[in-house]
Amino acid sequence: MPLTDDVIVVEGLTKRYKTVTALDGFSMRVRKGEIYGLLGPNGAGKTTALHVLMGVLTPTAGRVTVFGHSPFDDRETLAPRVNFSSAYVQMPFNLSARQNLDIFARLYGLPDRTNKIESLLAAFKLTAMAKSKTGSLSSGEQTRLNLCKALLNDPDLLFLDEPTASLDPDIADLVRRTLHDFQKRKGLTIVYTSHNMAEVETLCDRVLFLHRGKAITEGTPKEVADRFKKDSLEKVFIHLARTGDVMDAETSR
């Protein structure tokens, strides 16, 4: 077990494909109970980093530990404590929302499946759609269903890949508040990717900007904005996206 309260420790993480370097020796630490944002333009390496942390993509070099365990070798220890949601991952279309959640509740070995499923459906305002086939749900409803799945096992660590993409502002706000509530009540640690900088400022305790697989800057949203003399993360994002190549050469964390 780790001696610090670091839930995730990443050192010199590199992922190379044949002609592309998706992650270029970046390091980061995520503390227990914080919401940590992985930010950057398309192709920066956010999702690749998330996949490596989840243990579904093996790195070319570097060291990764989650709760002191390797996500590649100790999956059995980590799987019950971790979950994941993405706007781009779905569940079988011809099963109802409730049936899909029931299947995952069984896979996670939950003792009181029914109550857990009903409370999550209610939290994400999906109770009325519980019997609907998953394929008939709107993309926003499917995103919320994925979030229900992600919280089924009361995870200690949650990976969220653009969880509010395709949600209207009202529902996106509901999702943010619900996630925040879970995080506060259960001390949940969240690693979060999003292109919505206003949302990141509201939710994240700390953020890490990636550009071409390299860590450019890290800190609280305010610290990062101040560091670049900008008044919002959105402006920092645009600045880094446009000048990131220069930053690559000049900046180290």
């Binding site: 989840m54 993509l57 779905q90 299947i103």
Partner: protein
């Protein structure tokens, strides 16, 4: 430790997916029944033309048809189960859950066994009603022979799943194509003696060939040829080990080159 609860959850899940989809239900009945009609009426023609005065050919053909379906459906069980996850973009959800690869494979095997069992039952009942065919023509021998075909179908399922892991959706057609690659060389509707000498080593390397030869032997003599059974079983063990290695190798490759996550989202 393997969790039987998770294995049964996978079985439950595939059964739910199957029985809630009219297209998949049709797939369960349509093709085997149509095949039975074709071969059944062909055997009626043989009978009426006095081309099969002993009735042996009829029994052999219908048994061959049922056995072919066992092989074909069990091969599809695993690869179609994996395809199901690709179609619904659900692979990542399973990969990060506590479900282990071997639990998923065993769940898919069990689901395949149930599916194959239902199809065989339907074929036997229909063959009995329409063509006065009786399973008693093979008696107890049916079980060990069918068991060997089930094993070979599963081994081929591992192979096609490995191909899916390697090439993703591009390899989709192989799920249906691979069984037909071995069909002409498995002595299903004709004996091994019809093959040219140069082809026989390949033919005899397939467990399915030994099962089909054993089936004809039982119909001809009423005796169960244990050597054929053991040879088929031994070959099945070899095929299973080799294709398991291949499938796991492709899984690791997919984890390393990102193919697995690309297929998932």
């Amino acid at each position: 430790m393997i969790s039987f609860n998770r294995i049964l959850t996978i079985v439950r899940r595939y059964i739910l997916i199957h029985f809630k989809s009219p297209a998949r239900l049709l797939d369960l009945f349509f093709w085997p029944v149509m095949e039975l009609f074709v071969w059944g009426f062909f055997t009626v023609y043989l009978k009426n033309s006095n081309l099969d005065s002993t009735g042996r050919l009829v029994v052999t053909l219908i048994n061959a048809l049922v056995f072919w379906d066992i092989l074909y459906r069990s091969q599809q069980a695993l690869s179609l189960a994996f395809m199901e996850e690709l179609w619904t973009r659900n692979v990542l959800n399973l990969l990060i859950s506590p479900l282990r690869t071997r639990e998923w494979v065993l769940g898919a095997y069990l689901y395949g066994m149930i599916k194959t069992g239902i199809i065989v039952l339907i074929l036997l009942v229909l063959a009995s009603v329409l063509y006065a065919f009786h399973i008693s023509s093979l008696g107890f021998s049916f079980i060990p022979l069918a068991f060997n075909l089930l094993l070979f179908g599963y081994a081929m399922g591992l192979f096609t799943t490995g191909l899916l892991l390697r090439w993703g959706h591009a390899a989709e057609a192989l799920i249906w194509g691979v069984p037909f690659l071995i069909q002409p060389f498995s002595a299903i509707f004709y004996p091994v003696s019809v093959y040219p000498a140069w082809l026989k080593p390949i033919v005899l390397a397939l467990p399915s060939t030994h099962v089909m030869e054993a089936m004809r032997h039982v119909i001809d003599t009423g005796q169960f040829p244990w050597p054929s059974f053991w040879i088929a079983l031994g070959l099945n063990v070899l095929f299973t080990l080799f294709f398991s290695w291949f499938c796991l190798r492709m899984l690791e490759r997919g984890r390393s080159n990102g193919q697995l996550v690309r297929m998932s989202g």
